[in-house]
Amino acid sequence: MSRLAPEGAALSSVAESEFALASRRRRRLTRQRLGHAAAPYALLAPAAVAIGLILGYPMYLLVRMSFEKYGLFELIRHQGRWVGTANYAQIFHDSEFWRVLLRTVLFTVVNVTLTMVLGTGIALLLLQVSRWLRVALTTGLVLVWSVPVIVAVDIWRWMVDYEFGVANWSLQHLHVGNFVRHDWFANPWTGFGVITALIVWGAIPFITITVYAALAQVPQELLEAAAIDGARPWRIFREVTMPLLMPIFVILTSLSIIWDFQVFQQIWVMLDGRPTSDYYTMAIYAFHQSFQISEYGLGAAIAVVMVLFMFGATLVYLRQMLRAGEIR
């Protein structure tokens, strides 16, 4: 604020230029304040316009459709029939909906927990192994991360194939049991086991690499100080590392919840596009009601319910996000 005059200038010229500079600064401050006020909106505008332009009208349509009877007949005529909350009532009175909701919640909890625990575990492992293995592991994780979902599902489907799958052959030859022609999807529990393995497998790289980066930024001095104090590794993790990693954990968990709650493709493709009702999750149920039965109004209502539900589940993250800005 006070680096005004260049060295060696006469005092008068300093005073003169100081005055001139001061008034210039005042003008710039006013312009700056106005600019300051407009700047965030201007910066936000392109992204907001992009999202608003593409998603604004469809979101409005979606919500409106949830209050309409919008079947194939109405679709062709581009005109839904207003039925108020009838769709919502039908959903909430459908016992199938509650079963699917419960199943999806359970599914999400299991997947998110496994993903976070295993992902973090492998990240911690990365800190412990030799350098060559660290490089190999991160490269391997990157490899897994880069496989598109459709492809990953096809690979896993092939691995658990009834006749020719490598999973059955391996388990049989390891004498784990009789796995000749074992049908993994006959029982929804084993079927979901395979699907969970697939999803967790695909989600681990992102979690691991993110947590690993976060771990790498925990100040070494803190860890060493704790170690010198005689703390055991688990305690160090719990009391030094975890608190520092908490924001990242909250972010990752919330994201995982949102993504796992909406899982569709893995289950759909794994079951050849014809899942039986005991494999329905919310996203598949919504799809079933929309496209398969061509009741788009009902499908829209289910989507709205899903969004509200997920909002509730990620409330923690929401407050964290909002608070993180406040501190500054």
């Binding site: 392109p46 992009a50 194939l72 009834y162 006959a186 050849d272």
Partner: protein
Amino acid sequence: MKVRFLVAAVLAAMLAVAATTASGGTSKAQAGKIVVWLQNDAQNGWPEAVALANRNFKAQHPDVDVDVQYQTWGNHLQKFDAGLAGGDAPDVIELGNTEMTKYMAAGAFKTLTQSAFPNNKTWLQGLKNSAQYNGKLYGVPYYAGARAVIYRKDQYKGAGIKSTPKSLAQFVADGKKLMKKYGKDSGYSAVYFPGKYWYYAMSFVYDYGGKIAIRSGGKWKGTLNSPKALAALNQVASIAKSMSRASKTTDEANPQQALVFAKGKVGSFVGNGWEWPYALDAKVGNPALDPVVGAYPMPSHIPGKFMPTFLGGSDLAVPVTTKNQSLAVDWIKAFTSTASESEIAKAGNIANTTKLLAFNASNPKLAPFARAAKFSWFVPTSPNWANVENANVLQNMLVKIFTGRASVKAAATSASSQITRILNTGA
């Protein structure tokens, strides 16, 4: 300020991008082009038929381009629905015959005049029924598929079966002989019967005189738990349990049953005409089996008759959103001409006209299927039938029976009530 400048630049860029594309102008209404949606089976299976149709159409309309876009069975209806919603569906679309009723009832297609199309007096009755609604014609039969038993002649001989069975009872007895001779291999199936193979299972129901659903007093009623249907389903369960080691929860395409047959551990399976040459495919099948593979129509429980087979197939329709109806009709005429249909038949399908059944009959690899096609059954012609298929009601029922999770009676009763509910839904 730099901020505003940068923001303006980005916005300008986006607008420019949008402008260039908007000025490009889509408008399928231009008479210079028609869009045809066929399933990708035509792409690899009978491309000559498509090429022939395009050539003849071009000769008739030199200034009109034909854009044939191939769709996948898994998602084509999603895309079609979106197109209908947006008002830009194709000019000609292929739909599976069980998918037609739902769309016909919703008014998705233009009405067509039967007399305008080639061979219309000899259309296969089963296909023609699937393209009609309330007395009007909304589609043109494209092709059909009938199923017959494809079997290993050498294994039959080895098990002491002298000739192909002429009745269901004999079929079952033959199956037992096969299992006795080869069944020690835990992977062997005398009759490969995947759990979700409802086309084959329902054939039994219709053979015994039952039906999936009947219409009475203006309402539909699921009848899989009628005594006749239950008898049929019990027979199905018995065959599957004692003679099949196929997966109880997958259908006949995953894994592809012809390819499993080619691996040598299957005595017989029920498949379409194209599955015979597919089992002998050079890349994925076993060409060495050529001399020992044969086929015969599935025998009925009434000796000397054939079990009715499900007449699968597709129709061609003209969506109501089209602006090129006469061009669309002309293309369909070109594609269902006798010449074009002959190409389709050559690929192992059943052409849409009985005139060409003779063509199939003269080819030993196609003859059994042509014979089987004479006796067929079809699904209830309700606009809501597609929903029954999408809800996997029949597949679920069979899976429950095959895995032993429910008794035949319980599974059939549950399925029947579901069918009743779904078929009677809504206006």
